[in-house]
């Protein structure tokens, strides 16, 4: 597949406005303004563009859920707060092609008839955020952002918010609070942001990778987009592969590409003599998959059918020198640290789970600890306020199932078997 989203990505020297236009950039504005907003939503829906931030919800349907006659002002929030361990795809888009993002936000805001757009960038990507800000100023000077864009009568204000830094800010409603200068706790599910979002105005939030597909769909059509995927997947997809592979990296491939091809062809496979223990398919809050799942197409429904989630399509590879208990402990420590602290089951529960896991990992665990982990993870997932804690419980519960023998051997032998193997092997 020819690169679509990464075709004009230049990591160290992103194209400026003139250079981006010379390779066809901003052409989709004409294609958009020639259509009614409703038609664009129909095309995006027909393309079966599903959310690339992790949830996989239909982008067209999400746009439709915000009433066409919703009160003004309406907001579009573009999410570049990628902080999920294993995930770095949006970094490439941000640092390598700010004008592609601006173009995508303009046509998407037009489809939504939103007059204000906020692009939320994680603080660790601050330099990329400043580059994006400069690119917006460049686009404003050229009449591409602001009032009456290209004589279309469409007005759009666009700004960048660089986060103060916390994983929870990537959650849709926490993000809205962060932009408003409130403590970034997630909000109640109802009313939905599409009704009362940023400043209580109708708001649509999309991941940046989702949005950068829109100009290409407008220019080439829904059928073209669907045909780019394979194995039931639609469109191009940015895959991250990292962990115990030769060549970790970002790969733009058809949505639906099997994990085997990603790990063993594109990421260069494992070190010599190593075997695959398993992999996380979609970032830290997705369930582990095992070698038997290598041929599962990396698309939303097939990965769900295999018992996990496509999530951010970020594969973390574990080999036979990796201790799955340590891996799970690392993930739990991440979630314990990043809990926003608003609700007690999450704030106090996840550190407790991490503590129990640390005991098992060091060989001091008891058989009852495994029962406790299972019980607590179920309670925490059910009793917490937002999706953060249930997300954190997924790799834990899955790890206990997939790698049960490893947990037992830590408890039975009173040590981490991998410590001995790695020390003697090293």
């Amino acid at each position: 597949m020819e690169a679509v989203l990464t075709r004009h990505i230049e990591a160290n020297a992103p194209l400026d406005l003139e250079a981006y236009r010379s390779v066809g950039g901003y052409r989709s504005l004409d294609a958009a303004f020639a259509r009614k907003p409703e038609e664009i939503i129909e095309i995006v829906e027909a393309a079966n563009l599903r959310g690339r931030g992790g949830a996989g919800f239909s982008c067209g349907l999400k746009w439709r859920l915000r009433d066409a006659d919703a009160p003004r002002p309406r907001y579009l929030v573009c999410n570049i707060d990628e902080s999920e361990p294993g995930t770095f795809k949006d970094r490439y888009l941000l640092y390598g092609g700010p004008h592609q993002i601006i173009e995508a936000v303009i046509v998407s805001a037009y489809a939504l008839q939103a007059e204000k757009a906020v692009i939320f960038v994680r603080g660790e990507y601050g330099k990329g955020g400043h580059g994006l800000h400069r690119a917006i100023k460049e686009a404003e000077m050229a009449g591409l952002v602001g009032s009456n864009i290209c004589g279309s009568g469409f007005d759009l204000q666009m700004e960048v918010h660089i986060s103060g830094g916390r994983y929870i800010c990537g959650e849709e409603t926490a993000m809205l609070n962060a932009i408003e200068g409130l403590r970034p706790n997630p909000r109640h599910k109802m009313p939905r942001p599409s009704v009362k979002g940023l400043w209580q105005h109708p708001t649509t939030t999309n991941n940046v990778e989702t949005l950068v597909n829109v100009p290409h769909i407008l220019l080439n059509g829904a059928d073209w987009f669907r045909a780019l995927g394979i194995n039931s997947g639609c469109g191009p997809k940015l895959f991250c592969v990292s962990g115990m592979v030769h060549q970790p990296g970002l790969f733009e491939l058809p949505c639906g590409t099997p994990a085997r091809e990603l790990i063993f062809e594109h990421a260069g496979g494992l070190a010599e003599g190593r075997t695959l223990l398993g992999f996380i398919p979609g970032g830290a809050s997705t369930a582990f998959l095992l070698p038997e799942h290598l041929d599962v197409p990396m698309d939303f429904d097939p990965v769900a059918k295999a018992g996990s989630r496509l999530g951010t399509a970020s594969i973390i590879v574990l080999d036979d020198t990796t201790c799955p208990v340590q891996v799970t402990l690392n993930l739990m420590r991440f979630f314990a640290r990043e809990s926003c602290g608003f609700c007690t089951p999450c704030r106090d529960g996840i550190p407790y789970l991490a503590q129990i896991l640390a005991t098992i990992a060091s060989g001091e665990g008891r058989a009852e600890d495994l029962v406790l982990l299972e019980e607590l993870s179920g309670i925490i997932a059910l009793q917490s306020f937002c999706a953060f804690a249930p997300g954190a419980m997924i790799p834990l519960i899955s790890s206990l199932q997939c790698f049960h023998d490893h947990y037992e051997s830590h408890i039975d032998t009173g040590c981490c078997p991998f410590d001995a193997v790695n020390k003697s092997g090293a």
């Binding site: 361990p85 770095f88 949006d90 660790e124 990296g249």
Partner: protein, 161 residues
């Protein structure tokens, strides 16, 4: 703690307010970032100033300042090295790297080197998993790092200053 901002500083801060937002408090994060960029950290005076400009109470500003991991309420070194300790970097030796950084520099994580040149902080996933083990030095990506490269980097920081 009661000193009011002079008009010029106030104007400068107000000029940074995001124009698209209906309420002044939306400027709280950009203001904290801007004061920190000037002073190395958000000091007590900064908290007062942010409160005055945004209309928030100092307690509310404090609550946000301590919530965000990239806002420092205590002095940090002139250079800040944030070393990722999340899964992909950990698989590639981040834990050993953090230990080595402390041992080599003699400076504990979160503290400032005696000459004020640097602080080393552990960090959650930096989105640099393809360069693991990775770090951010004053916002710029470095990686993959090993112990030798880390030593060179820390030595250079001390020499540059």
């Amino acid at each position: 703690m009661n000193d009011k901002l002079d008009r010029q500083t106030l104007q400068k801060h107000l000029a940074q307010l995001p124009l698209t937002h209906p309420e002044r408090r939306a400027a709280v994060v950009p203001l904290m970032q801007s004061l920190q960029a000037e002073r190395g950290h958000l000091d007590d005076r900064g908290v007062e100033e942010v409160a005055q400009v945004t209309g928030l109470s100092t307690t509310e500003v404090e609550e946000l300042a301590t919530f965000y991991s990239l806002i420092y309420r205590h002095p940090a070194g002139r250079h800040v090295l944030r070393v990722c300790d999340s899964l992909c970097c950990s698989l590639q030796g981040a834990d050993r790297l953090l230990q080595a950084a402390e041992q080599y520099s003699g400076v504990s994580l979160g503290k400032i080197s005696p000459d004020g040149a640097f602080s080393i902080l552990p960090s959650i996933c930096l989105g640099l998993c393809d360069q693991a083990p990775a770090a951010l030095l004053d916002g710029e990506a470095v990686g993959p790092l090993n112990e030798a490269a880390l030593q060179v980097l820390l030595r250079r920081l001390q020499e540059v200053d």
